[in-house]
């Protein structure tokens, strides 16, 4: 009840000196809006990165690649790429045999681009890739048939997965592509499955307005079949993706991989296998952004102290102006605590209004900058616009902290003046003019 009364008094007092109140709040407004704007930008960058990477497909694999250590003087001169030093399929298979609970493989390779003649004898182009497993990939939903799997490779089967776009290019409308044969330079393949191309792929690979017939479409054949047909079964690799099952400790897996390859390469100091994981890289980027955001926020928050001192100053002025009123209130029976509460509530309200205005301005500023960034990407880098999932997201925790901080600023800087008012001797206050 007293609280409502105090709130009413505080509102009356703040409204009575609108201009002065706003000037008092300015420090708080600037401090809070700066913090909110920075955190909005920080969280937006993080969200954008996460969404962009997520849209590019799953990241649950390590890129494993061969890397040579050249010394300064013989950089590129004395060393010749000795294929025996490179990553081999055997190493990878053994790795998976050793840690079947953590890792699995899905090897893939570019086979090459081939021209084909369709049913109308028009020339189209396909980009052939080989892959061990083309099943259960979130980005490539199958509309017909099945994906290529390990069994196809084991049996060196000449099967193929093609896109819906390829079906349109290659067959007369209405043909059921499953079971049809496609002849290429490296052999004949039977279509066993048809998938749809994901949006990001279409946006990245094809220009707007390009004729469907001119689009080079990707097709997939089994990895082992491809190596067999190309007589490259023994050829080592430059790199490979080692997949891991979800919900694992990525740092632990990374150590495991490093140790596994270091053991194999311990006698070859000039060459090593490097391990790279997007997820842990993203985690590190996030940490860096967090640290930067917090550091800048703390610097910006220092202006809150300046704002708080402004509030304290104006509260002291306000209390001096209202000394007589305080005396009258005491004569009417107000306890010291009631006077204290009245002025603390006023200081808190002043800071809270400042804080809320600051939050609104900060969000507006952060979101505004986000939209400008989005606009610039769309304008100047339209080819990346589809890939970058720019996400503008104000930080809710930062807003809550800002509200709490404003209240604390009010309490901290309002207490001293309010206590001074509360301790006033009633007679001295009444005599004051």
């Amino acid at each position: 009840m007293q609280f409502i009364e105090n709130l009413r008094l505080a509102i009356t007092s703040i409204l009575a000196n609108k201009m002065r109140s706003i000037l008092t709040m300015l420090g708080i407004i600037i401090g809070i809006s700066a913090v909110i704007m920075i955190t909005t930008i920080g969280t937006s960058i993080q969200k954008t990165l996460v969404n962009t990477f997520n849209s590019m497909g799953s990241m649950n694999y390590f890129e494993v690649y061969t890397s040579w250590n050249y010394s300064e003087e013989d950089f590129g001169l004395t060393y010749t790429d000795n294929s025996e030093d490179r990553l081999s399929v055997e190493m990878l298979n053994q790795l998976v045999e050793q840690y079947p609970e953590y890792f699995y493989l899905n090897l893939s390779d570019d086979v090459g681009s081939f021209p084909l003649n369709n049913w109308k004898k028009q020339q189209i182009s396909v980009n052939v890739s080989s892959i061990t497993n083309f099943e259960n990939l979130d980005d490539f939903p199958f509309v017909r048939g099945r994906g290529i799997n390990q069994n196809d490779g084991n049996g060196l089967k000449q099967v193929m997965n093609v896109s819906t776009l390829f079906v349109e290019q290659y067959f007369p409308a209405g043909t059921n592509p499953i079971g049809q044969t496609v002849s290429t330079e490296i052999g004949d393949f039977v279509i066993v499955g048809v998938f749809e191309l994901p949006d990001y792929y279409v946006k990245q690979m094809y220009n707007e307005g390009q004729q469907d017939i001119d689009k080079v479409t990707p097709v997939y054949i089994p990895y082992d079949t491809a190596r067999h047909l190309l007589e490259k079964e023994q050829e080592p690799l430059y790199y490979a993706d080692v997949y891991y099952y979800p919900e694992q400790d990525i740092d632990m897996l990374e150590n495991l991989l490093n140790n596994y390859f270091q053991e194999i390469y311990k006698d070859k100091p000039y060459v090593q296998i490097e391990v790279f994981n997007m997820q842990s890289e993203l985690g590190m980027i996030n940490t860096v952004i967090n640290v930067i955001t917090i550091a800048i926020s703390v610097i910006a928050a220092i202006s809150l102290i300046v704002g708080g001192v402004g509030v304290m100053n104006i509260m002291l002025v306000s209390i001096t102006e209202r000394t007589k009123e305080i005396g009258v209130r005491k004569a009417l029976g107000a306890r010291n605590s009631a006077i204290l509460a009245q002025f603390v509530v006023e200081a808190i309200l002043l800071c809270l209004i400042g804080g809320i205005i600051g939050i609104l301005l900060g969000v507006a500023g952060g979101v505004g900058i986000g939209f400008i960034a989005k606009f610039m990407v769309n304008q100047f880098y339209p080819e990346y616009a589809g890939m970058f999932k720019i996400t503008i997201q104000p930080s809710i925790p930062a807003m809550l902290i800002a509200v709490i901080f404003s209240i604390l600023t009010g309490v901290f800087f309002g207490y001293y003046p309010a206590n001074k008012a509360a301790k006033l001797n009633p007679i001295d206050a009444l005599r004051y003019d």
Partner: protein
């Protein structure tokens, strides 16, 4: 004889205690005031009337001597207890009205009840009743700066009466008003005294107004030099 409300024994008030310019304003005042009395205090300017009034009103503590209000020794009370006494037992009426600015008449009258912790509903009910008593119902929602001096003083009197105080203390309540308006305020005090049975202590410079009261105490240089018309004195 009615029961005593105020009992003072040898009350002394000094300022600048321990300093070379130490001042003794009240020189051992002994005084008894009973329920339903209407007392005026007169004396020259600077004689110590307001100082005495502040002690009676529990705004100030005596330097020496004892003061009992309704049997309670006020000199032993802490700040919160004094606030409670002021809130419940005392009603102040000031020369300069001292209404809270930017707060309408009704809210001003509600204020002592707010500090007493009364519910909104009860406060509002009583405040309306009080404004009716001082004939100010029509101005209930007016701000102090929209009221004349006499009207302000009526609101102030209504506010002083809010918590049914034992004593109404008025320090030159007509001092800032013209004599006609002053008389009307005086009539209001008479009405409260008669109809509500309120004990009233009035400081005034007007001997005319002082004559209207039952008992007149004269102060000079911090001493009571005359006390006429009261119940005790009637005994002599």
């Amino acid at each position: 004889m009615n029961k005593p409300v105020i009992q003072m024994q040898n009350v002394i008030k000094r300022y600048y205690i321990g300093q070379p310019n130490e001042l003794q304003i009240l020189n051992g005042i002994s005084l008894e005031i009973h329920e339903h009395e209407f007392v005026s205090i007169v004396g020259q300017s600077g004689s110590g009337k307001s100082t005495l009034m502040n002690i009676i009103g529990a705004l100030d503590r005596p330097t020496e001597g004892t003061y009992h209000l309704n049997g309670v020794d006020v000199s032993t009370l802490d700040d919160d207890e004094l606030s409670y006494i002021r809130n419940q037992e005392i009603g102040f009426v000031f020369q300069t009205f001292n209404l809270i600015s930017r707060t309408n008449a009704l809210k001003n009258v509600e204020m002592p009840m707010m500090y007493a912790g009364l519910s909104r509903k009860k406060r509002l009910e009583r405040a309306k009743e009080l404004l009716a008593l001082v004939d100010m119902s029509e101005r209930a929602t007016h701000q102090p700066n929209e009221l004349s001096g006499g009207q302000k003083q009526r609101v102030a009197i209504a506010r002083a009466m809010a918590n049914h105080p034992s004593i109404l203390l008025a320090d030159e309540p007509t001092g800032a008003l013209d004599s006609k308006t002053g008389h009307k305020i005086m009539d209001l005090f008479h009405k409260l005294h008669q109809e509500e049975g309120t004990t009233i202590i009035l400081i005034t410079h007007s001997s005319e107004l002082a004559e209207e009261t039952e008992r007149m105490i004269t102060i000079s240089d911090g001493n009571i030099i005359a006390d006429t018309g009261g119940e005790n004195n009637a005994v002599h």
